[in-house]
């Protein structure tokens, strides 16, 4: 039997996730929960025949026996208030906010490490886009002394949550580059671009390559990772071939002779949000991937 799921948060992310989940064989979406009865997301949920209450996360707790899994697409402070209640109700929570109450999961890297965790944190959009490449570099080198990511998203696709707490984005993403990506030191940068028509999400990963690195192995590993991520985010691609540039570079992890530059583009699937919002698409696609992996782990067959 598929896992019975609810999505909390009827904004852009929650609604996009709903559209994706309707296609899943192992996750059965029963409700999209909001707080605004007039929201477009709830109207769409009703049209799809789903429950669409506007009583917020309390509704899920009250109907705790009906759900195996909840996807939280609200905001960090809401998740902080409810993560324990979900756990007490026996509902596994996939957290798309930066609340970071559970272990961080980057779908292409450590998908299977936390399949039994009651709460999983999806890091950030930039983290989902760039941590796989940090990992791809670090697995091909003796050590990755420093890794840096630069994420540029269109102004239109950066919601109020990101804007009011931009430090949270950079800190959480930077942590993921180290803890999951395997870098010894790291930095994350986010830029908002207001160009009209909106630009497609861009991410650049710079990796510090120490003496003795097999450059061909690094490039090969990057291409392999591109394929892995594209399996669940079809619009994820290298915009240009990865290049090795000669320094020296005085990084926080020490002086290195070379760096690798990985130029990525993430085009959204256009499920609910327009294709330029690859930053939101990669979050919903990764959350789905995690949900389906947990379903498989619990013996749900497609």
């Amino acid at each position: 039997m598929p896992l019975r799921c609810a999505i909390v948060g009827s904004g852009n992310i929650g609604t996009d996730l709903m559209v994706k989940m309707m296609r899943s064989d192992t996750l059965q979406l029963a409700a999209l929960v909001g707080i605004d009865p007039a929201s477009d997301g709830l109207a769409r949920a009703k049209a799809l025949g789903l429950d669409a209450p506007h009583e917020g996360p309390d509704w899920v707790i009250e109907h705790g026996d009906d759900f195996d899994m909840v996807f939280d697409a609200t905001s960090a402070y809401v998740h902080v208030r409810y993560h324990k209640k979900y756990a007490d109700a026996g509902i596994t929570a996939i957290d798309l906010t930066p609340a970071a109450r559970g272990p961080k999961v980057i779908a292409a890297v450590n998908l299977t490490e936390h399949l039994d965790a009651p709460n999983i944190n999806m890091v950030t959009c930039g983290g989902q886009a760039t941590t796989p490449m940090a990992y791809a570099i670090s697995r091909a080198v003796p050590s990755l002394p420093y890794c840096e990511m630069v994420s540029t998203v269109s102004s239109k696709s950066a919601g109020p949550g990101t804007r009011q707490n931009i430090d949270e984005f950079t800190k959480t993403t930077s942590t993921a580059l180290r803890e999951i990506g395997g870098a010894e030191t790291s930095k994350a940068i986010i830029i908002l671009n207001p160009a009209d028509p909106p630009i497609i999400m861009r991410n650049t990963v710079f990796g510090a390559l120490p003496e003795g690195t097999d450059h061909d192995a690094v490039i090969e590993s990057i291409y392999a990772m591109e394929k892995d991520v594209a399996q669940y985010v079809p619009g994820y691609r290298l915009k240009n071939k990865p290049v090795i540039e000669e320094g020296p570079y005085n990084t926080p992890g020490g002086v290195v002779p070379h760096r690798v530059v990985v130029l990525l583009e993430v085009e959204g699937a256009g499920d609910y949000l327009p294709p330029y919002a690859g930053n939101l698409d990669i979050m919903t696609a990764a959350a789905m991937r995690v949900g389906e992996a947990i379903a498989e782990h619990r013996g749900v067959s497609a």
Binding site: T152, R163, D167, N193, R202, N240, K241
Partner: protein, 342 residues
């Protein structure tokens, strides 16, 4: 202290950092701060060129950790206030807390001119720390006077003490400056400032025009050291202001000595408006892209002018230095394909 007609903020040690690829050392900082301080400059800004936390692959690594340099600046200044610039998304609120401890009293929170709402957190932190908070709207040529007013009012509502508009691409004419400054001065309850660049040889004229329209703060750098073809040269601004009968509170002769004897000797090249510099202003491209674009042009064997024009077409904003590599690689590919076809 005498009353002055405007306040001068010198950014040699911040914006100037771009032009020397962020390779300032402690002895440079001590000499420059001592000179500017002696000249009577009211505020001296220091940080990585891209603001606190800017040391990175994307923008270039600092030779010396910026907080060590900031500490030297704070120790050296007798009368001047020390300022830092930070861009949310690059630097952190924690950086503001650290530099406050070192003695920095002015925080300039900088964003692209349409994204003021990402400064709320940092303006509030600066105020909580007891600093003067300046909201700094970059690439101001990309927004209309009305649009800038809207953004500036947001920053004012977050508690900013002063608003700045920056002509980061050196793309504005005198008329562009007058229309923006007059609209902002009319709409705001707090003072306005203007940060000019010299890519179209307009920096001093634009600064004087801004003053005439009611700006109460002007930026300069010694010898014009800075991104692109350089900033408004502090010593020239002071000299021209004196000729206009504008009271600056700074001594142009001391500033000329600082520029000639301290800053010019450490400049890898003098600030001239060459083709690439002029193109920045002409195409409206962020000034600090210049040296990065020159390096990419050399590495991938494509003309720097083509890189700059393509960046202008893509409407990239400050901070997107990674796109320079992207553009250079694409141009190199296009050129290679053209050769095969030919």
């Amino acid at each position: 202290m005498t009353t002055t007609d405007y306040r001068l903020i010198d950014s040699t040690l911040r914006d100037g950092s771009h032009a020397i690829s962020h390779q300032y050392y402690a002895e440079d900082v001590i000499k420059i701060v001592a000179g500017l301080d002696r000249a009577g400059v009211q505020v001296i800004e220091i940080a990585h060129g891209d603001g606190l936390g800017g040391s990175s692959f994307n923008y270039g690594f600092s030779a010396v950790p910026e907080k060590e340099l900031i500490a030297r600046a704070c120790e050296t200044a007798q009368q001047a206030q020390i300022a830092c610039l930070m861009l949310p998304g690059i630097g952190l609120a924690d950086d503001l807390r650290e530099v406050r401890e070192l003695g920095v009293s002015v925080a300039r929170i900088a964003v692209h001119c349409t994204e003021a709402d990402i400064t709320e957190q940092h303006i509030k932190v600066a105020k909580e720390l007891g600093m003067e908070a300046i909201g700094f709207l970059m690439m101001a040529h990309m927004n209309s006077p009305e649009g800038l007013v809207e953004q500036a009012l947001l920053m004012q509502s977050y508690g900013a003490d002063t608003i700045y508009i920056a002509d980061s691409a050196g793309a504005m004419t005198v008329d562009d400056v007058r229309r923006r400054v007059s609209a902002l001065v009319k709409a705001l309850d707090i003072p306005l400032g203007v940060h000019a660049h010299n890519n179209l040889a307009m920096a001093v004229a634009n600064s004087i025009a801004a003053y005439e329209e009611g700006a109460k703060n002007l930026d300069g750098t010694s010898a014009g050291l800075g991104a692109g073809a350089g900033n408004c040269p502090t010593e020239i601004l002071a000299a021209v202001s004196t000729k206009y009968g504008i009271e600056t509170g700074v001594d142009p002769l001391v500033l000329m000595d600082v520029a000639e004897e301290i800053v010019r000797p450490i400049m890898p090249r003098q600030q001239v408006i060459d083709r690439a510099g002029l193109l920045l202003g002409y195409a409206g491209v962020y000034g600090s892209f210049l040296l990065h674009a020159e390096r990419a042009a050399e590495r991938y064997n494509v003309p720097v002018s083509e890189i700059l024009l393509e960046l202008g077409r893509r409407q990239v904003v400050g901070g997107q230095e990674d796109m320079i590599i992207d553009v250079a690689l694409e141009l190199a590919r296009t050129h290679a394909e053209a050769e095969v076809t030919a």
